[in-house]
Amino acid sequence: MFDALTQKFNDAFKKLTNKGVLTQSNIQASLKEVKMALLEADVNYRVVGAFLRSVQKRALGKEVMGSLSPAQQFIKIVSDELTQMMGGSNHGLLRSPSSPTVVMMVGLQGSGKTTTAAKLARMLKKDGKKVLLASADIYRPAAIEQLKVLAKDLEIDCFDSNPQMTAEGIAQLAKEQASRGLFDYLILDTAGRLQIDEELMNELGHIKGLIDLTEILFVADAMTGQEAVNVASSFHEKLGITGFILTKMDGDARGGAALSIRAITGQPVKFIGVGEKSDQLEPFYPDRIASRILGMGDLVGLIEKAQQHINLADAKKMEQKLRQNDFTLTDFREQLHQIKKMGNIGDLMKMIPGVGAKMPAGQEVDTGQLSRVEAIIDSMTLAERENPGTINGSRKLRVAKGSGTDVSDVNRLLKNFAQMKKMMKKFSSMGGKKSMRAMQGMMGGPGGFGPFGGA
């Protein structure tokens, strides 16, 4: 599904490559493809309409954009507008002038509030803050228990609520405990509720009236469809949300709901959830989600992640090799250690423009598999590692035997390596760290492999 989407999107841009200037008529096809792409990404159709109008306006404006071709201009405008609509730079948690800062999590059932509350607490604790967690979910069976368990695992204090209390009572008592105990933050989890459930919406309103809330964070599932706008705007109208968190971004949903919610509430996305574990909460970067929604991958994210984990000198050396295109299986083996440190390969691959969309689901590579790959490479001779093309049938059999794997495993590794090399070659030609340069790469700079790669 996503394959087709990316393809369509790329096609639209290709259609523009040969045209002289952007005109009302020659951008229509591209606009239409952008529209389709956004709708498939679950962006609300009304938001799509508004977005297209602003893109069109800018595209037809007399903006001078250096030496960019019309197609490049168009993709830059789309990407810029989307990034801008997603809310400029990233926003952290607000801090109240007097402690504790109270953060309340709200949202529909099953959106991930409890898990996210624990993740936020962990993040703040890691930052040296004293945090109190409290669950005001007196409705869902074992919801309070869930937060308590998470808090205990993280060695974070948790208010001792129970389902016999009222949500308002819990909020108030937890706040008192947080003040008395000189906590920096109180994070209040609440029950999931429908925006049309007046009684339960009032409950949140009461809590807001009772205690000073610095942040009211709307927790939204990245997979949410068109209703995201109505849900978010109701929560916002009734409570005045201060930001939202997008969960389950480790799935393969494009997360168009983010754009809808942002556009409709005007409030920023503050964090994204990228896994079930407590450390899988990340700051939000508008440019990254913009490219994800558009199916262009998260190049900046990839580069930063790589920088965080890979030894710089090693990386330089590798980059050199990549540039000269003499990256071998020996180097690959060396890099496996680094890659293991970077986390899930599938996640990384998804961040590469043009790859993300094409990644079949289930491409996740576990560390056990990485070890197997290491074993396979270890069973090759040095010459074979330098020149994998020489590994014929009988050699494959030997390598498989030596590493305790099947020939099919060896084949897969060789195939993947060839693919990876091809990809890395393109990746390296983009070189830079800055998003602008990455962007240029995407827009078909020399050797680029974005929508115009090879076009």
């Binding site: 679950d42 609300n44 159709y45 991930g112 228990e145 068109q226 689901a361 289930g362």
Partner: protein
């Protein structure tokens, strides 16, 4: 591909629909009642017994009636109220398309539906806006109607139902609700706590079991979920349970390890009961957009899915994405979730769903 399969059937159905759709408000109620009776008559033993619970005042029927009333009241402000004897024009089709998109049908399915209407328009089969709406709803209901949706039963020994889905869609809650219904029919029900991963998932399920008064088999947090299911299958067999409901951890369909784990869980059931699971139900949250298609596709790859449960239809989301899913994967919808209470699990009625789509 989309319409060919059902084309002839659809045409017949449409002709009939158009003729008899003068008073839709009462027609809806009649249709619904007819459908309910039809369901009660035609369904397998399990559904027949489900009917038993319907007759209790607080049971399914009350819930259904409530659901219907709600559908109807939303309905009065719907596009149908606007649709009239006026002829179908482009503007109308555009508005219709927007409605479909905003009901999460997705671009492809929405376009197919609109194209279908355009085709009928050309052939003179429909003329007015009211006819177009009727035709559209019949089309949708036709797609969603895969025959009698009764949950399969074991020939002998315990019947096993496996619930799967991404995180937070409503698996555990749906199990709790279904357990209550089955118990109401006098079945001996065992529930297996196959979510050994999420914090307090076991407590949540145990709480439901206690509430509805059925047995629950659980092992400590972080136990191998396959082992839980294996033991549960043995217990169900040895102790003469009629039904075993298996909860599983929520998992995103693009996580290979977790999906493999699910396949393993299915196999471990089969070690004890070769025919199990008799139904593997993918639970979908009605709020989910186009990603639900991927979910169906991927879960279908690892377990032999037999159908869907669509939850949270008490909210404002329409869940239109299931139209494409049902059509493409031929997975019937067995139940819908319309709230958090025990009685908030209802049989799926294609016509009602089609009605509420455009509201």
């Amino acid at each position: 591909m989309f319409f060919n399969k059902k084309k002839r059937e659809d045409k017949k159905r449409l002709a009939a629909e158009i003729r008899q759709s003068k008073d839709k408000a009462t027609g809806l109620a009649q249709e619904f009642e007819a459908k309910r009776q039809e369901l009660a008559q035609n369904q397998g033993p399990l559904s027949k017994e489900l009917k038993g619970t319907q007759s209790t005042p607080t049971g399914l029927l009350a819930g259904l009636k409530k659901g219907l009333a709600k559908t109807r009241s939303i309905f009065s402000g719907s596009i149908l109220a606007l649709a009239s004897g006026e002829l179908v024009d482009n503007e109308f089709l555009e508005e219709l398309e927007e409605r479909l998109l905003s009901a999460d049908l997705g671009v492809a399915t929405s376009l197919k539906v609109i194209d279908h209407l355009k085709g009928q328009l050309k052939l003179g089969q429909i003329k007015t806006q009211a006819e177009a709406i009727t035709s559209l709803k019949a089309l949708v209901a036709g797609i969603l109607d895969l025959g009698d949706p009764h949950l399969p039963l074991a020939q002998s020994g315990p019947t096993v139902y496996l619930f799967v889905g991404v995180n937070g869609v409503g698996k555990t809650t749906s199990i709790g609700k279904l357990a209550a219904q089955l118990k109401g029919q006098g079945k001996k029900v065992l529930v297996a706590a196959g979510d050994t991963f999420r914090a307090a998932a076991i407590e949540q399920l145990a709480h439901w079991c206690e509430k509805v008064g059925v047995d629950c088999l659980a092992k400590p947090q972080n136990s191998d979920p396959s082992a839980v299911l294996y033991e549960a299958a043995q217990k169900a067999q040895n102790e003469g349970y009629d039904v075993l409901l298996c909860d599983t951890s929520g998992r995103l369909h693009n996580k290979k390890n977790l999906m493999d784990e699910l396949a393993k869980m299915e196999r471990s059931l089969q070690k004890v009961l070769p025919e199990a699971p008799h139904a593997a139900l993918l639970v979908l949250d009605a709020n989910t957009g186009q990603n639900a298609i991927m979910q169906a596709k991927e879960f279908r790859e690892v377990v032999a899915l037999t159908g869907l449960v669509v939850t949270k239809l008490d909210g404002t989301a329409k869940g239109g994405v299931i139209i494409g899913i049902v059509n493409e994967f031929e997975l019937p919808v067995y139940f819908i979730g319309v709230g958090e209470r025990v009685e908030d699990l209802q049989p799926f009625v294609p016509h009602l769903f089609a009605e509420s789509l455009l509201s």
